[in-house]
């Protein structure tokens, strides 16, 4: 099993490199270091958000509200910056992280304490959070000329050749690998999703693991809110609208199982990079941006078919909640 997972990541990695090579043969400039770094910077947000989603998926949940959290935390960060432009970046980072954690906790509490299916909860909160962006801003946009230079420059600052945003993604990946592979909390997240009943007997509070996953995912989405708004230089109600599907796609391509308990950080990163390369290569090939969604849809559908081989055990229902008393499934 372990070998299979390893070979899957390796296979996906090889496929990604092949894609990169093919595009580079046609367009040598594509593989220039500056373009590669630019592409990584462009994909950093997807990597960050996909890792948060992965935590939730591991515990048999799904988070559809992350892009709305990005929009709300981003708007609040931008409004804070507008109100106190001289305060610098630290309060902005703190507030966006805090907002994200709180929104994630709200999802998590509902899933943990009331045992509601996470899909229903986040379907509801994605609308509520998105609506709150409008309420917070009064429907107005915050444009880059209303943002302080510190707010805009922080994530663009070049450290050792790559941007601070890229470093955030790399740092998170490092933390994630340690957390999920070597820390009890990480192992418990896997256990809670892999077999909730067995995990409960082993003393793992499955509901609490879901709460932790949602809270962490919320915190990451909150930080990404500031990053997103700063990177694109605008905060408005529809920021990152529909991005949750790309995030889930990156996870699925990366081999994270929607049935919980299966997935690697490496896989998710490669999945995100795969989507990032496609996105950046399409304009070069001369396909209009309108083709991007169709092509990524095709790639996602292909990836899930490959993923699904033998994964779906016949008795397991996909939307089944881990902590639900197993009544009817006698």
């Amino acid at each position: 099993m372990h070998f299979f997972k390893f070979s899957r990541d390796a296979g996906l990695g090889a496929l990604t490199l092949l894609l990169l090579a093919l595009v580079s043969i046609a367009f040598p400039a594509f593989i220039s270091p500056s373009n590669l770094f630019g592409m990584f910077d462009d994909t950093a947000l997807l990597i960050l958000l996909a890792f948060g989603e992965m935590l939730v998926l591991l515990t048999r949940g799904v988070d559809l509200s992350n892009s709305a959290v990005v929009a709300l935390a981003g708007m609040i960060a931008a409004l804070l910056n507008q109100a106190m432009p001289e305060a610098g970046v630290l309060p902005v980072l703190a507030i966006s992280l805090l907002v994200g954690l709180l929104l994630g906790m709200f999802n998590g509490i509902l899933v943990w304490q009331l045992r509601l299916p996470s899909m229903v909860v986040t379907l509801g909160t994605m609308s509520v959070y998105r609506g709150l962006v409008f309420v917070a801003s009064g429907g107005a946009w915050v444009n880059s000329n209303q943002m302080s230079p510190a707010f805009l420059d922080f994530i663009r600052a070049n450290v050792l050749g790559i941007t601070v945003l890229s470093w955030f993604a790399i740092g998170l990946v490092a933390v994630a690998v340690i957390l999920l592979r070597y820390r009890p909390l990480g192992r418990n997240l896997y256990a809670a999703g892999n077999n909730p009943s067995a995990a409960a007997y082993a003393g793992i509070d499955v509901g609490r693991m879901q709460f932790v996953a949602f809270t962490l995912a919320g915190g990451i989405s909150g930080l990404c809110g500031y990053f997103w708004v700063s990177r694109f230089g605008v905060a408005y109600t529809d920021v990152a609208l529909g991005f949750e599907m790309q995030v889930i796609a990156a996870c699925v391509i990366g081999g994270v199982s929607m049935a919980g308990g299966v997935g690697t950080v490496t896989g998710v990163v490669i999945g995100a990079l795969f989507l990032g390369i496609i996105k950046n290569a399409l304009p070069l090939i001369g396909l209009s941006p309108f083709w991007q969604m169709a092509v990524s849809g095709l790639v996602i559908t292909g990836a899930v078919v490959v993923n699904a081989r033998g994964e779906r055990s016949p008795g397991r229902r996909i939307l089944e909640q881990s902590s639900k008393p197993e009544t009817a499934a006698v």
């Binding site: 799904v62 304490q113 009331l114 045992r115 509601l116 299916p117 229903v120 909860v121 379907l123 509801g124 909160t125 609308s127 509520v128 998105r130 609506g131 709150l132 409008f134 429907g139 409960a200 003393g203 509070d205 609490r208 109600t237 529909g242 599907m245 889930i248 796609a249 699925v252 929607m258 049935a259 209009s288 309108f290 083709w291 991007q292 969604m293 169709a294 990524s296 849809g297 996602i300 559908t301 899930v304 078919v305 993923n307 699904a308 081989r309 033998g310 779906r312 016949p314 008795g315 229902r317 996909i318 939307l319 089944e320 639900k324 008393p325 197993e326 009544t327 009817a328 499934a329 006698v330």
Partner: protein, 338 residues
Amino acid sequence: MSDVPVTLPVAVMHKLRLRSFIRWEWLLVLVVIADFALNTFASPYFLDPWTLSDATFNFTEKAVVALPMAFLIIAGEIDISVAGIMALASVMMGLAAEAGAPLPVLLAIGLVTGLAAGCINGALVTTFNVPSIVATIGTMSLFRGSAYAILGDRVFKSYPHAFAYFGQGYVAGPVSFELVLFVLLAIVAGAVLHFTAPGRRVYAIGNNPVAAALSGVRVTNYRFLLFAVTGLAAGLASILLTSRLGSTRPSIADGWELDIITMVVLGGVAVEGGAGSIVGVVLAAVLMGLLTFGMGLLNVPGIVMKIVTGGLLIVVVAGPALVRRLRALPHRHRGGLG
């Protein structure tokens, strides 16, 4: 909070579930009446046959898709690609209309596109064993992406005059074609789900697919058929919506999948499958239509309505769970909430 799953006899659970769902539908009726009264109170224009008729357009198209979606969710599956199917079907009809196709051909193209898309979903879930939420997340991008790829930033609006009837026509007085169609479909759906053997099998599949298969239900065939019918319904809804708007953009029906699923869940269908009723879904559809229309009368911006529908979804699901939670407390050890 280290809960070890409690196992109750199936018969007991079934009884409990049935009872709670009968209560659920009465709760919905009450909320619908309350909202109706609120709308009447809020706007003097609400209690007019034509105003009420206008209000129905807020939910009929979505509700047409919500009916088969209820079957799917009861059977333990889900289809997130329905709005994508609607966009693709609309673009196909637009292409045909541009080429001068007559009305029957247009309708056939809308329905066949929906059916074909539904069959793709069905094949992914049955033949390729992909969990339906994953499969339809992929096809959602595929279908809507194809609509964007074909149409780009252009607009189709050269629909024949007679095409307008389906989304704008009235059967008698203020009773619209859309409403009549929805009522007929709801009756058929309710009859099939609640009074026929195939309907009972849908519940059986949702409750325990393995047991259902072992007792002779052709689970795979049912799953495929449900996805195909949902696709067909999305094609039909696309005809209605395209006809009402009189034009096609690739962003048509954007985000509707969430509204449709909200309708089904609000109607009391259990997301984990195995329970739910068509009456509940119809009530939820009417409720969402009245609610958005009422807020429209009060000039509430659309995005704020999203807070209300999203909040409503959470409240109606969390409310009973909270009550159950509090009721269960005295029987367990007191420290349960901590």
